[in-house]
């Protein structure tokens, strides 16, 4: 029995213990169930984390993925089931809002260690990876993550920087020589084919991400020029988004395709956070800097749900 004659110190001790314990309790947002909330994922190289933000609310990160990303080195992608693909040597897959990995693409069939740059996921769940170290894009069909179903080599003397896939499963590869900055080019490959056609697009330097919207417009980053360039189908003359940008290596288009989130970061780091643009007009609407140290490197951006 507690000796109540000692109650003042007991009360202080017990209250201190329990109130402190409550303050340290796991009060975090559960994002796995709120499927109607849009989530922004931001991968940070130095922090070895993926910050999770609710958007468009301009609040700090509501969660962080820490488990399985201790060597985060490449792009982020989200599939139509809202699974997150985070590149950490391997590509780790997380269910929407999940903090623990559910699947891993080890790339055991590629040179070790794998060096994955850009990633994209097709509407059929196929994962496309720009294998920077091997100069190819490898495709892994869902459920067969141990062996690539297709590999597409980039032209001689170049390597793959980024990859995108459209609704018809055409694959777009952004390639350049390995040292930065090198002139970037984009080619289009027919579904399931290694036969690719250069689109006549020239970038002063390749970025780390590539996307295609539902209208077939190709969205690329000219990292040296710090410009997002949007190429209509069949054209090599882009529309440009550049207001306030010092770089644009990674970016993501939201599901309604009206907002473009861009990692505002030059090649050597010193990021300015994530800039948010009106996709149609190119107007700068705001930025997110909370939880993103200026001296960290933004290594990937993805939105859930994503534009498909």
């Amino acid at each position: 029995m507690i000796r109540l004659s000692l109650w003042p110190p007991v009360v202080l001790l017990v209250l201190g213990t329990f109130l402190g314990a409550q303050a340290a309790g796991p009060v975090k947002a559960d994002l796995t169930q709120a499927s109607n909330t849009s989530l922004l994922y931001v991968g940070l190289f130095n922090g070895q984390t993926v910050n999770i933000y609710r958007v468009p609310q301009n609040e700090g990160p509501v969660q962080q993925i820490l488990d399985g990303v201790s060597n985060i080195t490449g792009d982020l992608a989200v599939d139509k089931s809202q699974r997150l693909y985070a590149t950490s040597n391997a590509v780790m897959v997380y269910p929407r809002g999940g903090l623990v990995p559910a699947l891993r693409y080890n790339f055991a069939d590629q040179h070790q260690p794998p060096l994955v740059a850009g990633t994209a996921v097709g509407s059929d769940g196929t994962l496309y990876t720009a294998m920077y170290g091997d100069g190819l894009v490898a495709a892994y069909q869902r459920g067969t993550q141990q062996r690539a179903s297709l590999t597409i080599p980039t032209p001689s003397g170049t390597t793959a920087w980024a990859v995108a896939v459209d609704a018809q499963n055409n694959v777009y590869i952004e390639y350049a020589a390995a040292p930065y900055p090198s002139t970037g080019h984009i080619e289009k490959c027919a579904p399931g084919s290694t036969q690719c056609t250069d689109l006549g697009i020239t970038l002063n330097a390749a970025g780390n991400h590539l996307a295609v919207d539902s209208q077939g417009n190709l969205i690329a980053c000219d990292q040296l020029a710090a410009k997002i360039e949007i190429f209509p189908p069949g054209s090599n003359q882009p529309r440009v988004i550049s207001q306030g940008l010092v770089g644009c290596p990674n970016f993501a288009l939201n599901a309604s395709q009206d907002l473009l989130y861009v990692a505002n970061q030059p090649h050597d780091g010193n990021n300015k956070g994530v800039s948010i643009f009106d996709y149609a007009s190119g107007a700068l609407l705001g930025s997110i800097t909370s939880g993103i140290p200026a001296d960290d490197l933004i290594i990937g951006i993805a939105l859930s749900p994503t534009a498909q």
């Binding site: 109540l4 209250l15 314990a21 820490l66 903090l99």
Partner: protein, 328 residues
């Protein structure tokens, strides 16, 4: 003894009200075993009440190995018998009747250092550990009355057991820290839980290094077949995960402070109510003054913490148990 005054009664009520939601499992005992020398150790017994933890005594044989508690609330400990390479040389199991500090030796086997131990409903003792001065890991069981060793697995991978648990049907689960196999393809490279289904001789990987990535402590199997375990990485995260039977992804995940035990080695016990886990740092994380935490399950809220009373020559903590313990 004087009766509590009205004022002190009110204070008591206020304390209880303030503590609601972080209830402490009363009338339970927590056993913490630790090493003080290569051949010496101790096991402290703490009585847990709403007011905190009180050191009630120590076990006569000492300590320095894992702790287990059976369905009859007998306590099992293993005294220190370490070599200079910090390998436990023997598995020398003593049993203590509920509330007793006088133990009886059950069995002793050489050339096996137990790192995790549990006891089945029939009194069978299961251990997972290493052959001294080797990278070979053994899972073995010892059934009464003879307690003869039956080796269930002997392998170099996976490595470093984090816990062992057996359900009422005899399905056996072992948590592992990792393996040294080819990392790109190994399912246990950064942690896993293996299972030996009852009546079978072939182990399966129940959870690979996805949900069981960064495996730190456990698992405990529950009556519905769920697995409860702790994953963590130093300064980054501490999670208590629950994976339902037949599934591979946690249905619940409690996020604890990432600085708890500095994300390092944790030894864990699970109480009879199924609502509280008891944790402390072990190995070199379990040094003098290391706190024991009573953590509400599944919320992950800390209900109580108290420092381990330990002698100045403590090397590190080796195990924790709670009585009454949870049995699936």
């Amino acid at each position: 003894m004087k009766s509590p005054s009205f004022a002190t009664a009110i204070v008591s009520i206020c304390i209880v009200a303030l503590l609601s939601g972080v209830a402490v499992a009363q009338n339970s005992s927590v056993y913490v075993s630790f090493l003080t020398g290569l051949k010496s150790g101790g096991t402290n017994i703490y009585q847990i009440t709403q007011g905190g933890a009180q050191l009630m005594g120590t076990l006569d044989i000492g300590g320095g190995g894992p702790v287990a508690i059976d369905a009859q609330q007998n306590v099992y400990v293993i005294p220190a018998d370490w070599d200079s390479g910090l390998y436990q040389l023997t598995t020398n199991v003593y049993r203590y009747a509920p509330g007793s500090t006088q133990g009886t030796q059950l069995f002793k086997v050489d050339n096996l250092g137990a790192q995790a131990m549990t006891v089945g409903a029939d009194g069978t003792v299961y251990v997972a550990g290493a052959i001294p001065e080797s990278d070979t890991y053994v899972v073995a069981k010892f059934s009464p009355p003879a307690y003869t060793q039956q080796t269930l697995s002997i392998s170099q991978n996976p490595r470093y057991p984090t816990g062992i648990s057996v359900d009422a049907s005899g399905n056996l689960f072992v948590g592992w820290l990792g393996s040294f196999r080819n990392i790109p393809i190994d399912k246990c490279a950064t942690g896993c839980i293996t299972e030996l289904p009852a009546g079978q001789s072939k182990w399966v990987t129940r959870l690979q290094d996805l949900a069981a990535n960064a495996m730190t402590a456990g698992p405990f199997v529950t009556s519905d077949g769920s697995l409860i375990f702790w994953t963590g990485a130093a300064g980054r995260f501490n999670y208590i995960e629950t994976v339902p039977s037949g599934e591979t992804y946690p249905s619940s995940l409690a996020q604890l402070s990432p600085t708890l035990f500095d994300g390092g080695n944790v030894t864990l016990a699970y109480n009879a109510s199924g609502k509280q886990l008891w944790a402390t740092g072990f190995g070199f994380n379990g040094l003098l003054g290391t706190n024991v935490y009573g953590i509400n399950y599944p919320s992950g809220h800390t209900a109580i913490s108290f420092p381990v009373d330990s002698p100045s020559n403590l090397i590190f903590i080796t195990g924790i148990g709670v009585r009454p313990a949870n049995f699936p």
